[in-house]
């Protein structure tokens, strides 16, 4: 029998139903973990952030930290926490990287370094499957566009939910998605031509 998110949340909060909470986690693990993987591009870090996200979720559901109001979809609320966890991680990495290290490029931030990492991903595109090539192309997107793609494509949030989560209008969220798709297509086409040429 399929139980709704609201029923599962109620079963966990009011009866301490452990199995109900497991169903919730497993139901949305792909969406949440896919988004985190897309943001940090590291499986170990994504696992840590996934766990950190649910520690915050459990605390908020028991009113220990934050507040959980049963409004809107439960996954949208959890995705907000996952996004905050990911941004906290990225900010901490940015601070660590902004410490002067004696390199010539010491002024570059984390976001400025993304093309370099994506460049490494470009090199791997020759030996990877198409979906890996797509992930690499998504990594090369500007952060705002990449986040919208991950939230809509992986986390299955609606554009309205994305707009509320990001603090922008729905038109802005839609515009970012459109530019992200156009940019992805422009990146994918040369890769495909290159693959065909190698064949």
């Amino acid at each position: 029998m399929h139980r709704s998110d609201e029923q599962l949340v109620t079963a966990y909060l009011e009866r301490g139903d452990q199995q109900a909470f497991r169903v919730l986690v497993e139901r949305y693990q792909e969406q949440i973990f896919g988004y985190l993987m897309g943001m940090v591009r590291n499986r170990e870090v994504a696992n840590d952030l996934f766990q950190e996200t649910f520690v915050r979720v459990i605390d908020a559901m028991h009113d220990r930290r934050g507040s959980y109001t049963r409004q809107g979809r439960w996954i949208a609320w959890v995705m907000r926490i996952a996004r905050n966890a990911a941004l906290d991680h990225l900010r901490s990495r940015k601070k660590w990287q902004d410490v002067p290290s004696g390199d010539d490029d010491d002024s570059a931030s984390f976001w400025d370094r993304l093309p370099d990492e994506a460049l490494a991903a470009d090199i791997e595109l020759h030996n990877k499957e198409q979906y890996e090539m797509l992930d690499a192309c998504i990594d090369q997107l500007p952060p705002e566009q990449r986040e919208v793609v991950l939230l809509r494509q992986d986390a299955d949030l609606t554009f309205r939910e994305i707009a509320e989560l990001s603090g922008v209008s729905i038109n802005t969220a839609l515009g970012r998605m459109r530019y992200a798709l156009i940019n992805l297509r422009r990146m994918i086409d040369p890769q495909k031509k290159k693959q065909l040429a190698e064949i």
Binding site: Y12, L13, E14, R15, G16, Q18, F21, R22, V25, E26, Q29, E30, Q31, F33, G34, M37, R43, A46, N47, F50, Q51, F54, V55, I58, D59, H62, R64, Q130, Y131, L134, D135, V149, R152, Q153, D154, T158, F159, N171, L174, G175, M177, R178, L181, I182, L184, R185, I188
Partner: protein
């Protein structure tokens, strides 16, 4: 919203399909839509990564531990109320309601004016109130049947004074209204060519019959009744010698020529003058 944004919404099964159909009539928009739709199909085919199973186990264990430590948000069902407690509640509500209604009625029936300011005046008026007036005014015994006699007298004195004043004012007003009404009626009769006595006789005939409750004089009109009674007695004494079958005015040729008949003629004229108002005989 821009047409291109409608296309994005439609790609992800959101938004208004009618707006998209309108946008797709444009060939350029149609081409972009087809290209983005192919790209989305490729994105949908990507395998979605999942976290390690150990991570999920740790999360569920933490959730279980937290749920055991936290108090349950759900409250236990309260026991059913017994019929006795329900009856007790209704009795208390009814009693409270009755008390409130009784107090409300008491407040409504209380006199508005301050009683303390009337006490000195009433004692003064009790000493100066005329005896005939206090005799005509019924005492408010029903309001205070167990009150002692001096107290009742003090209560009756200001009421008697007020009643006398009110009766006088009412009588004056009534007489003024009647006089004005008579004047207006006589004016109308003059216009119609009638004489005053004929007009007044006709008005008396056309006056509506008073109801029983209106015909009975009020107790405040005792003085007027006494005056009316005296007038009736005076008229009866004056017309004691007259008979109904006698003509009110006799022709000069039938009048006796003996001395002393002038007083009879005068009485006849007086009878005609008063009879035209009081008697409506033709």
């Amino acid at each position: 919203m821009d047409k291109k944004l409608h296309i994005i919404q439609h790609l992800y099964d959101e938004g208004d399909s009618a707006a998209v159909e309108e946008a797709l009539r444009d060939a350029e928009e149609r081409l972009e839509y087809d290209q983005l739709r192919d790209l989305k199909a490729q994105l949908d085919q990507r395998p979605r990564p999942v976290p390690d199973a150990a991570v999920i186990d740790r999360i569920v264990a933490l959730a279980d531990k937290t749920a055991l430590a936290a108090p349950r948000t759900a409250r236990a069902d309260r026991p059913a109320r017994s019929g006795k407690s329900r009856l007790r509640n209704w009795s208390a509500i009814s009693l409270t309601l009755a008390v409130v209604i009784a107090v409300g009625i008491g407040i409504v029936q209380m006199p508005v004016s301050d009683g303390a300011s009337q006490v000195p005046m009433s004692s003064e008026l009790a000493n100066t109130a005329p005896a005939d007036v206090s005799r005509d005014i019924p005492e408010p015994i029903e309001a205070a049947p167990s009150a002692p006699a001096p107290a009742r007298q003090r209560l009756a004195a200001p009421l008697a004074e007020e009643a006398v004043v009110a009766a006088g004012e009412q009588r004056l007003m009534t007489e003024l209204e009647e006089a004005e009404s008579d004047m207006a009626y006589l004016d109308d009769a003059d216009v119609a060519g009638l004489r005053p006595n004929e007009a007044m006789a006709g008005r008396a005939l056309s006056a509506p019959v008073l109801a029983d409750s209106e015909a009975v004089p009020a107790w405040e009109e005792g003085e007027a009744l006494v005056e009316l009674h005296r007038r009736i007695e005076l008229l009866q004494a004056r017309s004691a010698d007259d008979r109904w079958d006698e003509p009110a005015v006799m022709s000069l040729d039938v009048l006796p020529t003996q001395p002393g008949t002038g007083s009879r003629i005068d009485r006849g004229l007086n009878t005609v003058g008063s009879g035209s108002q009081n008697n409506n005989n033709p």
